[in-house]
């Protein structure tokens, strides 16, 4: 085989792997003889396992024998040293390596140097050295020859034949070697420049060849480091076996590929991919593996990284609660889904396991949702990259409920042409959150309602102290409109000290986290200081921060009353403390000292020498009455007292702290304290001195007796206990006309008329028990039977240990008589008072009732006796008594009358409100009593209360009416009320608006005039107006329109109120106007378009009469030329024809102009049939051109319709145009259109029937949709316009197939009702004017 082919084969094989450019090699000029080298590549092939075919020992042995023979010859015949060349040449020829050479050297040196060492003869030594030199020279020759020989031998050895040919072909080999060397160099250069590793391996995995890239991969610096070594150790252990198998399989002839990891010489790890293929010799033997290896570490790493991230992503996707899917448009199904949404929706696994084709998904959508599906897919198709589409879907749950899902989609993959192939979507179940949201909203609403309707103040602040909410009451109390409160802090709203007070409480509420109750004071707008019980509490808010809520109830009145009471009790305290008498309050206790004092004034300490603490410690009885007997008596007296037997100025002797005796007059009474305990109030007077004085007094009694006897007035003494008369004076004897002996010993009643004895006994007893010194007027019965009126001044005295009542009787008969008339008037007054429904009373300076009228008594359902002499505290509970007493004190102190309202419960326990007038009554000695009248105003107050509540409710409604601006005006048009919606609509806050008239706010003078006229109209008729539109201007100057209902609330005194409830319709109006304008534009454009289409036909239509005119004119001219007057009739006829034709021309143009006019839409009463005819005339030229016949079936008497003539023409025109298109291509007999009009149930119907091809069934549903057309050049707006116009006219349009297989369009328009026709007519007349 020629070597060229072998080389080419090699190149081809390499080329197959590396795809390198293919080189063709030329020899160095000379033609190589055939058969010089069968397979040049094999020169590089080493066989490490190769051994010499001759045994190693052979060459040195032969050489040694030769040397020995030569040496013997040399000994026998000296100077034959040149013969040593013979073995040297042999060695050089046969030498395989250093081994043989070394053997030769050792043998040769042994032969020559041993004799040198053993022979003592110098000549022999010299000779031997000469021999050695000869041998050395021959060795040199042998080395030179051998080296060259060795090289050639290697080549030879790989090829048996070559080897045996030997030196004969040395020259040829040289040439071949040189040629191949060059070729190899080129190949090597190519190989080395390859970026991939190219290597040759033998069957045992030893490296035969490797290019530079390969060396770099394994980290070797030169080929020598690798050649002759196995590649296996470099391959990672886990791939070694596979690698070996690959090598083996390649040697069997199967190429293969393997990815594996190596550990380079420098320890670097690389991932490699090897394509191994067999390298064949010319005869097909496989001698080596050609492996092309690529470094795929980067790729491998990238793949690893991708796989890792994919794993991560898919595990994340699986764990996500959302449904993630990929929809593929090519397959029209979901190709990826992290978990099935359907299992979340409760469908069984059998269903869920099925393929998620899009139709399947649609089954789970709600029926309403399904139509959206196609649209949704269309939207997906046009999604731009990177944009998320968000939508909400509703899917059916297995349990029948509908779940809401928030869906987001984005483009996932695109096709090569850029269209969307895959969409990635997620669905998240938001049903629960929606429900929660709704519940939250409701709860918020309830909360807000509740807060708003709280009667007290309520507000909410955030942590910064800004008001977030304040109800109406708070707004009023703060004196700011809500808008000004919200967002402000206390600092901005209130005086510094007030704000500080508020903030401290807020802080406390926030830090404590619980409710804090304080009393806060706030100066109201009117300047009055109000106190409120404020409850502050922290409120949780959705954003996690704490809010502070507050509620307050005004307790100013209560505070004021408390203040008064406090003052009263302080007043009392002072009195008690500084009284001239000893005053103390004590109560019994079971343990020692049996009595305990709670009040002990200074005078008590003065009297007894003990302080209250001392007496409580030592005991009253024990220290005051050391004598046991007296002590017991005192205790029992005390016990009696508890059962009602009050001590009245009883005299008790006590022992003072300093041991002195004192006589005290003690008076006590039981009082009930708040704790329901019976306490004793005791008054003590030191009467020691008085007692002493009494003795002196008694001595002077005699002197008094004289005085007594000589007194002008009758004086009687009577024993207080028995009532028996003990003394009387001379005047007394005269008074009764009896002797003293007759009088003494008689009961006192003896002095008085017997029929009233019982009364007098009562009076006497009253005087004996009370210390009253009031003089009384009585009748005295004289012995002669006459009766005398006397005034008795009673007095009680102790005379000789006996209580005596002394009565000084003065004859007042005369005075009495004059008083009689007075009493009569007094009785009249009494009667008057008692008949009066007014409650009236008089209290004395100790606030005891001295007079009450019967209304008063009825009120409490008690007898007078239970009221008179009592105080309010006896009648009412303390709180009410405190209130009345406070007012009484005011009157007493100011000495002026007082009008006030008092709240007192009646006999039935119901709290009643009284309008009370209290006034001072001047008494003697500068004292005042308090008189009062009261009228029950409970009903009025309650009515007021109810009204206030109702008003508050109304206010709340007004204030919170959403989007309805509500204002109240007084009869002068001034704003009284301006709700929140009004603020929003008009831009003025309530504070700004109230008190102003609308022309100061939102109305221009014209608008004001309209509004005033409206109010005047309402005022006149009393009827409400509306809903009517009014224009206005917002605060920022923008004009607006509102739809208002205005009505009147009649006032009591000619001051009516007006209420206006407005809805802002500005935006709606604008949109409507905009829409109607656009619609009109469209209609107009469409009409123009239609005219454009018909221009040819119309021009013909105009040309026709013009032509006729020209003809007639020329005809007339020619007639005139003939000057033939008999033909003047003909001339007239021609001129008439010219006139007619120009009219005809004008009519066509008129129609055209009407039709193309851009007119505002205006509906008028009009007849249908003329419209039909006119519309047909417009299209008539086209119809004629196309040989279309029109059949007319018009009803003779149609009611008029209210319509825009041009627009209805447009409808008919469009329908006719469609009909024309439908029949245009039909055979001539079918080119027929029928136009009908008829009346049916208050509607007028137009029918356009054609004999065309009809309407395909799938077209019907889209018929009236815009831009839907079946015509090639159609825009698809004609029928849509028809539908719009008909709808605007309150009519209907429909299409159906008819019996001729054509289409029939029916338009129904409402007939104008009879009663409206007149008004329409009137309006039209007005319009025309």
């Amino acid at each position: 085989m020629p070597s060229r082919e072998g080389a080419d084969n090699f190149v081809r094989q390499i080329g197959e792997h590396l795809l390198v450019e293919r080189y063709s090699f030329e020899g160095p000029g000379e033609t190589l003889p055939e058969g010089t080298c069968e397979f040049p590549i094999e020169k590089r092939v080493r066989e490490p396992s190769h051994v010499s075919r001759l045994p190693v020992w052979w060459h040195p042995t032969v050489a040694g024998l030769l040397i020995a023979v030569i040496a013997i010859l040399d000994v026998m015949r000296p100077s034959a040293s040149m013969f040593y060349l013979i073995p040297a040449l042999y060695v050089g020829w046969s030498m395989r390596g250093r081994v043989e050479w070394t053997c030769y050297l050792v043998v040769a040196l042994t032969v020559f140097l041993v004799p040198v060492l053993v022979t003592p003869s110098r000549a022999t030594q010299t000779r031997m050295l000469n021999r050695a030199l000869g041998v050395g020279m021959s060795l040199l020759v042998a080395y030179v020859v051998g080296d060259r020989r060795q090289f050639a031998d290697r080549l030879q050895r790989s090829n048996k034949e070559l080897a045996v040919r030997g030196a004969k072909r040395a020259f040829e080999l040289e040439t071949t070697i040189r040629f191949l060397g060059q070729r190899e160099l080129r190949l090597r250069t190519i190989l080395d420049s390859q970026p991939e590793c190219v290597q040759l391996l033998d069957s045992a995995g030893f490296v035969l060849e490797m290019n530079r890239a390969g060396l770099a991969m394994v980290g070797a610096e030169s080929l020598d480091q690798l050649v002759g070594k196995s590649i296996y150790p470099l391959v990672s252990a886990e791939f070694r076996k596979q690698f070996q198998e690959l090598t083996e399989s390649v040697f069997r002839g199967d190429p293969g590929t393997l990815e594996f990891e190596i550990v380079g010489l420098t320890g670097n790890r690389l991932w490699l991919e090897s394509h191994a293929s067999p390298l064949r010799t010319a005869d097909g033997r496989i001698t080596a593996v050609l492996a092309i290896t690529r470094d795929i570490t980067q790729r491998r790493r990238a793949v690893e990284a991708v796989r890792e991230s994919q794993q991560l992503l898919s595990s994340v996707a699986r764990a996500l609660p959302h449904w993630i899917y990929i929809f593929d448009f090519d397959e029209s199904r979901i190709t990826y889904s992290n978990n099935s949404i359907l299992s979340d929706l409760g469908y069984s696994p059998e269903i869920v396991g099925q393929d998620l084709s899009w139709e399947m998904i649609a089954n789970y959508m709600t029926p309403e949702e399904r139509p959206r599906l196609a649209r949704m897919l269309d939207e997906w198709k046009v999604l731009p990259d990177g944009q998320l589409r968000e939508d909400e879907y509703h899917l059916r749950h297995a349990d029948g409920t509908v779940h809401s899902f928030a869906g987001r989609e984005t483009v996932f993959a695109r096709r090569a042409d850029g269209t969307v192939r895959q969409v990635l979507g997620t669905l998240a179940d938001i049903t629960t959150s929606k429900l929660v949201e709704a519940a939250l909203r409701q709860s918020e609403q309830q909360f807000s309602l509740f807060m708003r309707h709280l009667p007290g103040l309520a507000w909410i602040k955030d942590v910064q102290g800004r008001y977030l909410f304040a109800n109406a009451a708070a707004e009023k109390a703060f004196g700011f409109p809500l808008a000004d409160i919200v967002g402000r802090t206390d600092d901005e709203l209130f005086a510094p000290e007030t704000a500080a007070q508020f903030k401290a409480a807020d802080q406390q509420a926030v830090t404590s986290g619980s409710e804090v109750r304080t009393i806060e004071s706030l100066k109201h707008q009117d300047g009055s200081l109000h106190h409120s019980i404020v409850s502050k509490f922290s409120l949780p808010s959705c954003v996690g921060e704490t809010l502070v809520g507050g509620m307050a109830i005004d307790i100013t009145e209560q505070k004021r009353a408390e203040e008064t009471i406090r003052r009263i009790s302080a007043f009392r305290e002072t009195i008690v403390r500084t009284a001239a008498e000893g005053i103390c309050v004590c109560y019994a206790v079971p343990e020692f000292p049996h009595v305990r004092f709670s009040v002990w004034n200074e005078q008590m300490t003065e009297l007894t020498g003990y302080t209250m603490e001392e007496i409580n410690r030592l005991g009253w009885y024990q220290s005051m009455y050391p004598d046991g007997e007296i002590q017991e008596r005192a205790k029992s007296r005390m016990a009696q007292m508890r059962y009602g037997k009050d001590i009245r100025a009883e005299e008790w002797e006590i022992i003072r702290k300093d041991g002195a005796r004192r006589l005290l007059a003690i008076s006590t009474s039981i009082v009930e304290t708040e704790e329901d305990r019976h306490a004793v109030v005791a008054l003590m007077q030191d009467i020691t001195a008085r007692k002493q004085g009494e003795e002196t007094l008694r001595e002077s009694e005699e002197r008094f007796r004289l005085l007594f006897e000589g007194a002008n007035d009758a004086i009687f003494w009577a024993d207080a206990e028995s009532g028996l008369l003990t003394h009387c004076n001379a005047a007394a004897e005269n008074l009764v006309g009896r002797d003293r002996s007759e009088i003494i010993g008689q009961p006192q009643s003896f002095l008085h008329p017997p029929e009233e004895a019982e009364r007098y006994r009562e009076i006497f007893r009253a005087h004996a028990t009370s210390r009253s010194r009031e003089s009384i007027e009585v009748e005295v019965l004289r012995s002669d039977g006459r009766r005398a009126n006397v005034s008795i001044s009673p007095s009680v005295t102790m005379i000789g240990g006996q209580r005596i009542i002394q009565g000084i009787f003065r004859d007042i008969t005369e005075r009495k008589r004059s008083e009689e008339s007075l009493r009569e008037s007094e009785e009249r007054f009494q009667a008057f008072m008692n008949q009066n429904p007014l409650v009236a009373w008089v209290k004395d300076d100790e606030y005891r009732y001295r007079y009450v009228n019967s209304a008063f008594a009825r009120l409490f359902d008690r007898p007078l006796s239970e009221i008179l002499g009592r105080t309010d505290y006896d009648i009412y509970d303390q709180q009410y008594a405190d209130q009345t007493r406070a007012n009484d004190i005011v009157v007493m102190q100011s000495e002026k009358s007082l009008d006030t309202i008092e709240k007192v419960p009646g006999a039935d326990g119901r709290l009643r409100h009284w309008l009370v007038q209290k006034f001072p009554l001047r008494r003697s000695r500068g004292r005042f009593w308090v008189g009062g009248t009261a009228a029950d105003v409970t009903d009025r107050i309650e009515a007021q209360e109810a009204l206030r509540t109702s008003e508050a409710r109304l206010q709340a409604v007004i204030r919170h009416a959403p989007n309805v601006a509500i204002q109240w005006y007084d009869s002068n048009g001034r704003v009284i009320l301006w709700n929140e919606a009004s603020e929003a609509v008009f831009g003025y806050s309530a504070a700004e608006a109230i008190g102003k008239t609308l022309d100061q706010l939102i109305h221009t003078p014209e608008e004001t005039a309209v509004f005033r006229a409206a109010l005047a109209g309402i005022s006149r008729t009393g009827k409400s107006i509306g809903p009517t539109e009014y224009s206005f201007h917002r605060r920022n100057g923008e004009p607006g329109t509102c739809l208002s209902n205005i009505f009147m609330i009649p006032g009591d005194d000619q001051s009516d109120w007006f209420v206006s409830m407005d809805v802002d319709v500005t935006e709606r109006k604008r949109l409507e106007a905009d829409l109607s304008l656009r619609q009109r534009e469209l209609l107009h454009a469409s009409r123009l378009n239609a005219i454009g289409q018909m221009v040819a036909g119309l021009s013909h239509e105009v040309a026709q009469p013009l032509n006729a005119i020209a003809n007639f004119a020329r005809g007339s001219a020619s007639l005139l030329n003939t000057a033939n007057f008999p033909q003047s009739e003909t001339l007239k006829e021609y001129i008439q024809a010219i006139t007619d034709q120009s009219r005809r021309c004008g009519a066509i143009l008129q129609r055209l102009r009407d039709y193309s006019r851009r007119a505002p839409s205006r509906q008028k009463s009009c007849e249908l049939n003329p419209i039909l005819i006119e519309s047909t005339e417009l299209i008539a030229p086209e119809l004629r051109r196309n040989n279309v016949s029109v059949g007319w079936e018009l009803a003779s008497e149609l009611p008029p319709i209210s319509a825009d003539r041009i627009q209805i023409q447009q409808v008919v025109f469009n329908l006719l145009n469609n009909a024309l298109d439908a029949v245009r291509d039909q055979e001539r007999s079918r080119r027929l259109i029928t136009i009908r009009s008829s009346e049916e149930h208050e509607t007028v119907m137009i029918e356009i029937e054609d004999h065309g091809a009809g309407i395909a069934s799938e077209v019907f549903q889209h018929l009236f949709q815009p831009f839907f057309t079946t015509k090639e050049d159609g825009m698809g707006i004609g029928l849509n316009i028809c539908e719009t116009i008909v709808r605007n006219h309150g009519g209907r349009i429909e299409a159906s197939s008819n019996k001729f297989n054509g289409a029939t369009f029916r338009v129904r328009l409402p007939a104008l009702q009879k009663d409206l026709r007149a008004s329409h007519l009137a309006r039209e007349i007005g319009d025309n004017e």
Binding site: P1105, N1107, N1111, F1112, A1113, R1114, S1116, A1137, N1187
Partner: protein, 135 residues
């Protein structure tokens, strides 16, 4: 020539018809008007010379159809077409079929007069040559 030349006018528009008659009164006293092609064919002896002024577009028998009919019957009658919408291809077809003139409305009355006169002349010649062929 004792008989005035015959002029036939066919048009579905009565006013136009009358106006043409008024115009052509100048040329001949014998102007006959027909509202449709059918009427014309029914009432006219087409083997006599004359000039036909006809509208092209008409319901029923159109101008083109009239021309075909007359050509087939080898009628000597010359045809002048009047049309609202004239287009070149149609004009070519008509001319190839022997039409004298195609006038587009509105035309100058003089043009029609000229056309009718030359049409009448041509018709006369054609009739004479036809007579010669026959005899």
């Amino acid at each position: 020539m004792s008989d005035p030349p015959r002029i036939y006018v066919v048009d579905d528009d009565k006013a136009v018809l009358r106006s043409v008659k008024a115009l052509l009164g100048e040329v001949s006293r014998d102007v006959r008007c027909y509202l449709s092609g059918e009427q014309f064919l029914n009432e006219v002896a087409i083997d006599q010379p004359g000039c036909l002024v006809t509208d092209l577009q008409m319901p029923g028998i159109t101008g083109t159809m009239l021309q075909q009919h007359l050509n087939q019957a080898k009628s000597p009658i010359s045809i002048i077409f009047v049309t609202g919408v004239a287009d070149i291809p149609l004009a070519m077809v008509l001319r190839k079929n022997g039409a004298v003139t195609l006038l587009e409305k509105p035309y100058e009355p003089t043009d029609l007069l000229d056309a009718v006169e030359s049409g009448l002349r041509a018709s006369q010649q054609r009739w004479q040559s036809l007579q010669a062929e026959v005899y």
